[in-house]
Amino acid sequence: MSNGPVLNEAALRAGAFKMTPLRMGVMLIAVGVYWTSIKGTEMSIQEFVTGFPAIVDLLRQMFPPDWAYLKRLGWPVIETLQIGIISTVVASILALPMAFLAAKNVSPHPIVYLPVRLFLTVCRGVSEIIWALLFVVAVGLGPFAGVIALIIYCVGVIGKLLAEAVEAVDPGPLEAMSAAGASRWKVFLYGAWPQVLPLYLSYCLYYWDHNTRQAVVLGFVGAGGVGYALFFNISTYYFEKAMMAMIVLVLMIVVIDRFCLYLRQKII
């Protein structure tokens, strides 16, 4: 290809787009899917335009934010942080044995490995908010329901990620330790764990960040914290207060995000 591309008519014609019956069919199906999706979700440009003044009006009601409300947000913020911290700590501890049992190369037996995998899939297959709704019914309104929901989901995710990390370890050191007469759990502790630890810490940090953000969403279903304050103020039309809560929320997330980033860099 030293002479650069040589264009000839035959090649151009071969590369040109041709409408075949198959392509036509795919296009028609795609258009049909889009159309029904638009209908199904009740999308309407007209309603967006006619509703626009209401959105502007809503924003106007949100400004200026109610700065006096700030001092009453202190406790909800602390509660949200507490939900984030405790759910992450408990989940990361529970995820450890799960990951160990769900990793093909260290799991004692397929009879153990398969159900644990399935359990982890169920844990993360149902989103936090659904778990929270279920546990609000079980343990009542308040942060505890949110904590359980976050723990379950997070065990599912960290457990799965960690199991994959365990499966990806270099098997060489494990073999060497088995050859030296180390029992199964010692092989794991000394051969695999040092390889997995940095990843584990990084997952835990990421999910601490994630759980704090999710704790806010869970507030909407009554699980306490800033999310609940936000939800309460929107549903009772205190929009200036809702605006204040949102500002606090964004600041909180930014701070945690930065802090996690800093910790991750320190560890790895």
Binding site: D170, G172, P173, E175, A176, M177, S178, A179, A180, G181, A182, S183, K186, V187, L189, Y190, G191, P194, Q195, L197, P198
Partner: protein, 274 residues
């Protein structure tokens, strides 16, 4: 213990077969016995079952059928715990050294003592002072005198140094038998001789039986007391190096003898020396 057995027999293998799945067996009906202090080289190109045979000797690979006896102990008859104890006295080194990269040199060596480490100490990563001292002695014996290296992460070492750490890890087990799986294949030519000399020296001083897989003919001839050549999972030659004639070599490697050494000089895999 079999009283009738020759007092000096260290490793005994009878009718050993290992098949993976339904494919042709990796090794088939092999019977051998190695004496105390014997330096044995399993010779042959890769994929002839050297590695499988070696791993059957400490049951890292469980044979499909046949008997393996180490120092009179039949491995297949042992309990899980008994097998771990037996393995503790069988040292093993590997082509890729198999160190934990993120752990210190000293820790890696002490891992050779995991078999006897108490539960609480194991859980807290807390080896005893004796283990520390034994690790240092083993490292010095393996040719790493520079104490500055001991607390460095294993992946900061050169290939030759890594194999020395792996040898120290094996020494700390106080083994009676050394299994070595292509221990010089990842090293450069200079380092190969040093590591081979080291293993030979240790084996001679302590009277250890060495079973080493190799594909380098010249190295095998220089160091082995006895060469066992494998092809298609079966023993095709068993005798001292001087009986290994060109005709036998051609049969084992499936090509003329003078071409084999040429090949060896080409495949230098790792450059940095100590």
């Amino acid at each position: 213990m079999n009283i009738e057995a020759d007092q000096t027999t260290m490793v005994e293998v009878r009718n050993l077969t290992k098949a993976y799945g339904s494919s042709a067996p990796a090794i088939e009906d092999i019977s051998l016995s190695f004496k105390k202090g014997e330096f044995i080289v399993l010779l042959g190109p890769s994929g002839v079952g050297k590695s499988t045979l070696l791993r059957c000797l400490n049951f890292l690979v469980r044979p499909t059928s046949g008997i393996v006896k180490i120092n009179g102990q039949e491995l297949g008859a042992l309990s899980k715990k008994g097998l771990l104890q037996a393995r503790h006295h069988i040292g093993m080194i590997f082509q890729e050294f198999n160190l934990v990269n993120r752990m210190s040199v000293l820790m890696n060596v002490m891992c050779g003592r995991l078999g006897t480490l108490g539960t609480w100490r194991a859980l807290t990563y807390n080896f005893s002072p004796e283990d520390h001292e034994a690790a240092v002695r083993a490292l010095v014996r393996a040719g790493l005198e520079d104490q500055e290296l001991y607390l460095r992460r294993a992946d900061t070492l050169s290939g030759g140094q890594k194999q020395r750490v792996a040898i120290a890890r094996m020494l700390i087990q106080e083994p009676k038998v050394i299994l070595a799986d292509e221990p010089i294949a990842s090293l450069d030519v200079m380092m190969r001789a040093q590591i081979m000399d080291l293993i030979k020296d240790i084996a001679q001083r302590d009277g250890l039986t060495v079973v080493m897989s190799l594909h380098q003919l010249d190295v095998a001839k220089n160091y082995a007391d006895r060469i066992i050549a494998l092809a298609q999972g079966q023993v095709t030659f068993d005798g001292p190096p001087n009986e290994l004639t060109d005709a036998v070599i051609e049969r084992v490697f499936n090509k003329p003898a003078d071409e084999i050494d040429e090949e060896q000089t080409v495949e230098i895999t790792e450059a940095p020396a100590e």
